[in-house]
Structure formats: C-alpha cells, structure tokens
Amino acid sequence: MTSARRGNPVLLGFAGLAGLLLILELVPRLGLVNERFLPPTSRIAAALADEVGTAVFWQSLGDTLYAWAVGLLIAVVAGVVAGLVIGSVPVLRELTASTVEFLRPIPSVALIPLAVLLYGTELGSTLLLVCYASFWQVLVQVLYGVADVDPVAEETARSYRFSAWGRVRYVLWPTALPYVFTGFRLAASVALVLAITAELVIGAPGLGKEIATAQASDAVATMYALIVVTGALGVVINLLTRTGERRLLAWHQSVRGEVSL
C-alpha cells in the first residue's frame, strides 16, 4: 500500500497492464517470437471477442465459477471448523501436527488419477482437487490464528467462568478472524488455479477444458484469449476478497492500522 503515496494506484495499475499488452503486441510483430506461437495482443483480443459471443464460453465460465465457489465453500467451512477444534485442544494439535505437515505439501494434481477413478470427468473431480488444495490454506491459517490468542485474555475469560462456547465466541474467534480471512483469500486464488487445472488436465467442464480444446484444435489465439479470461478472473477474485476483508474487518487493528487507500 506504500505505492499510494506515489500516485493513484488504480491508474498506475492500468498503466502497467497497458504496458504489458503493448509489449505482447510488439514482441511477435518484431519477430522476437514466432507469431504462430504467441499472436499479438490485437489478434488475441479479436479471438476473445469471438469467444465472448458464444454460448459455450458463458457456460464454461459458469461451470468454472460454480466449481470454484462450491469447492472453496467446502474447504473454508471444513478448514475453519477443523482449525478451531484442533487449535483449541492442545492434545489434538500435537497429534495432528505431523500429519498436517505431511499432507499439506502433496500437490493436489497428484490426486488426479484418484479423482478420475472416483468421478470421471464430472464436477466431482474438480471439487476433489479444489478442496484438497484450499483446505490446507485455511486450516493452517486458522491454526496460527488460534495460537495467537492472548493468554491473558484467555485466562481472564476462564476466571470469569466463560463457557467453552463463550470463550470461542468472545476470545478465540475475534483473534482468529483476520487469519481466517487471510486463509480465505489464499484459498480463493488457489481454488481458481486448481479448478482450471482440473478442467485442463481431466477435461471436466469449464474454462480449462475450453483452453485444452483450443490447444488441441491448433487455435492458438483463442487459447491465449481464454487464458487471459482466467487471469482476469483471478484479478477480480483477489480484488473482491481484499475489499471484503477490509470492509468486514474494519474494526480490527490489523486493518485499522493500515494506510487507507
């Protein structure tokens, strides 16, 4: 957020993007890469305009967003609940620590054969990969959040004989919330990447499958156009989660302390 002092960040952002597009237009035109393998921006834009006019495109966009949203929801709910429970019971924490560290780095794509076996090319395959990848993002953040609870506050709540639920509600949850949001923001991006990867590799319905079809059809410009769409989707999702985070956590010190935009 320090860039705020140097000018309008939105304008600067657009200028950066425009510069990138200009470079991508020039690189193939100057012959630095073969135009066949990286068409100039203008051709990609034309292909994008063609794609946007088709029903298949919107259907695929819908499929991708649906898989993303459902997968993310499952992962976040499961991650938050599991994180709060595991985090607040020391024995559980010790018991699961090594398991979590063992499972977390396993790349979701390694589960593709399992996903195919269980769900074929249906939505379930995508969900399995999305959930697996996003779940750890949330869980680990929530665990950190729970560990961050101020021991004095915790002891105070205990002395005042808060019920277990009361301690969760008034001590644990407010402390963990910013971590939950961080986990959510990370998971939202990871979920999108995995949703598109699953579609691309397995052929589950969505934008990824369209990219694969374009690639198999030798429609290079269309392929890049769809990749641009997935990139834009990532930007939008990130913007939305950040805005939501700032709004919902406006009361919290971590946000209050920030230089506002």
Partner: protein, 322 residues
C-alpha cells in the same frame, strides 16, 4: 467430558474432511432406462476422429434407437478406459494399442465398433512423420540417431514410427523418442528440440502449411487398411444389457457410414466441439470411417507392439475384438 467429546468430534472430522470434500455430488450421467430411453454417456477425445459420433447424434441416429447420448470430451483420453470400467461412461473411444495394453493387463473391456481408419494413401493420410522446412532428413531411414516426438511413449506412435524406419531400411533401435503433446510439436520442431514429429491432424496441416514436409505415412506403412481406434465398452455392460450394446453399435455404424459419405458435413460438425479455424477445417485430411475393424491390420499392430516390447504379453485379439 465436553473436552473429550470435542476431541472425538475433531478426530472424526479430520479423518473425513478430505474424503468428504469431493463427495457432495454423485457422479451423474451414468444410468439406464427412463421411459424406455437409455441414457448413455460416451467418453471421447475432442479431435477429428470422433466426428461421426457427433454427426450421428445431430442426425438422430441414436435417438431413433432409444438412446439419449451424452458426449464427454475428456482430455487425451487418460480418463476414458478407467471411466468405462467404473461405468462413468458406458462406452468410450480409444486407439487400439491402448485397448490392447489394457487387454494384456486383463482390464475387462471389449471393442464393439470401429473408430477410425487410415485413408490408405501415401502422403495423403491424417497422421504422419514430418520434418521442418529445409531439414536434411528426407526419409524415415534418416531418423536413425535422431530425436522424434510422439504424443505417448510406448504406444501406436513409436510402434508406427519404428515400423516405418525399418521399412525404409534403418535401424529402429537407434531412434530416440520423446513424449510431447501434439500441440507443442510444431514449436519444438522449429526450435530444433526434435528432428521429426509424429503428428495427426490438425497439427499435420499446420506444420505442412509452415513449410514442413512429410517423410512417412506411418499408418499406411503398417497397413493401407489399418483400423487405428475403436469404440469399446465394459464386459459387464455386454453381459448386463446386450440389447443396449447392440443398438449403440448399430447407431455408431450408421454414423460412421454417414460420416464417410458426407465429408462436408463432417467438416461442419467440427465447429461444434473443436475450435479448429475455418481455414484449417477446409484443409485437414479427413480419416476414413469404415464400419469393420480390419482384424489383420490390428494383428499387425499387435505383433509390432509385442516385438517392440509395448505389451507385456501378446494381446489376445479374440477377447478384445467383437
């Protein structure tokens, strides 16, 4: 007490989270009769080879036989054989080498109709070995000591290439194969990462349009009547519902015959499930779609594959072919 309860719950949850994650949707699509109509899902690859089934679907060849067809275009076909075995798909499309590999591993599948065949004409087939413009390689014999890309190692691509090298009088043991998806081959060829590429349409047309030349029609080299791929199903479905399999086979055969006789409609149907541009669509060489699986040609592939060590044991075509 409460703490123990929470601990128990938590354990149960950790154990089930991963499993629960993907399981909120049942794997629809499969299923049988609803009002006398069978819902059938077919696993295909979104390439030109399967145009007949899309065409047959639009012509109603399946509907008239009380089959409600749903086509699932999986990528690269990796999901198709497991999909058919697990009944996610009732039928699938796959090249015969892959089916023979499955057969030698006792996967319970059986071919029920022809899929796609070579045109049988040298230099006018839908798959070939190509080199880039100006390459010193002129025939398959020159591939000795060179690098050749195939889409899948230990499959029809390297068997066919080895065969063409042998026919041209070269030592096929000295050809180096690399695995690479078809769409990447042109760039790799032009960059010089590979000396030759084993490709199919539409990449074949694209490489030729960029000045590349064909050095061998590998399918034709094996047999001018080579059946390359087939539609198949699980042995379980054949046992449980022979009537459905019969109707599906009839519909496929009608589709294949229709596609063979109407190349313009084939080129048109490609717009519905591929993104091949209009220029390429008009230029690609279409395969042939005869309805019989040419057993002698498949036997040749089985022998070549056994000789090259692709199969762990010689495939039993009596069990695999209809």
């Amino acid at each position: 007490m409460r703490r123990r309860l929470i601990a128990g719950l938590a354990l149960a949850m950790v154990a089930s989270t991963v499993a629960a994650c993907g399981s909120d949707k049942d794997s629809g699509g499969s299923g049988t009769s609803s009002g006398g109509v069978d819902n059938v899902t077919v696993g295909v690859i979104p390439i030109i080879d399967v145009a007949p089934i899309y065409l047959g679907q639009s012509k109603g060849f399946f509907k008239t036989r009380n089959i409600e067809l749903k086509l699932e275009a999986g990528q690269g076909g990796a999901a198709i054989v497991p999909g058919v075995v697990s009944n996610q798909f009732q039928f699938g499309f796959s090249n015969l080498t892959s089916l023979m590999i499955a057969q030698t591993k006792n996967v319970p599948i059986k071919a029920i109709a022809a899929g796609v065949s070579t045109t049988g004409e040298q230099k006018k087939d839908f798959g070939a070995l190509v080199v880039k413009a100006g390459s010193p390689i002129k025939t398959a014999k020159d591939l000795v000591g060179k690098k050749v890309s195939v889409n899948t190692l230990k499959n029809i691509g390297d068997t066919a290439t080895r065969n063409s090298v042998r026919l041209a009088g070269g030592d096929d043991k000295k050809v180096n194969f690399v695995e690479m998806p078809f769409p990447n081959m042109q760039a790799a060829l032009e960059k010089g990462d590979i000396d030759s590429a084993w490709v199919v349409e539409p990449q074949l047309s694209a490489i030729k349009a960029a000045g590349g030349t064909e050095i061998a029609s590998t399918f034709v080299d094996i047999d001018p009547k080579l059946t390359i791929a087939a539609y198949f199903t699980s042995q379980k479905l054949i046992a449980d519902n022979p009537d459905l399999v019969k109707r599906f086979t009839d519909a496929i055969n009608e589709s294949l015959t229709y596609a063979d006789g109407h190349p313009d409609e084939v080129r048109q149907i490609l717009t519905t499930y591929t993104k091949i541009d209009d220029k390429t669509r008009a230029a690609v060489i279409l395969p042939k779609w005869p309805i019989e699986i040419n057993k002698a040609s498949v036997q040749k592939v089985a022998d070549l594959g056994t000789q090259d060590g692709i199969f762990s044991s010689a495939p039993d075509l009596g069990k695999l072919l209809p």
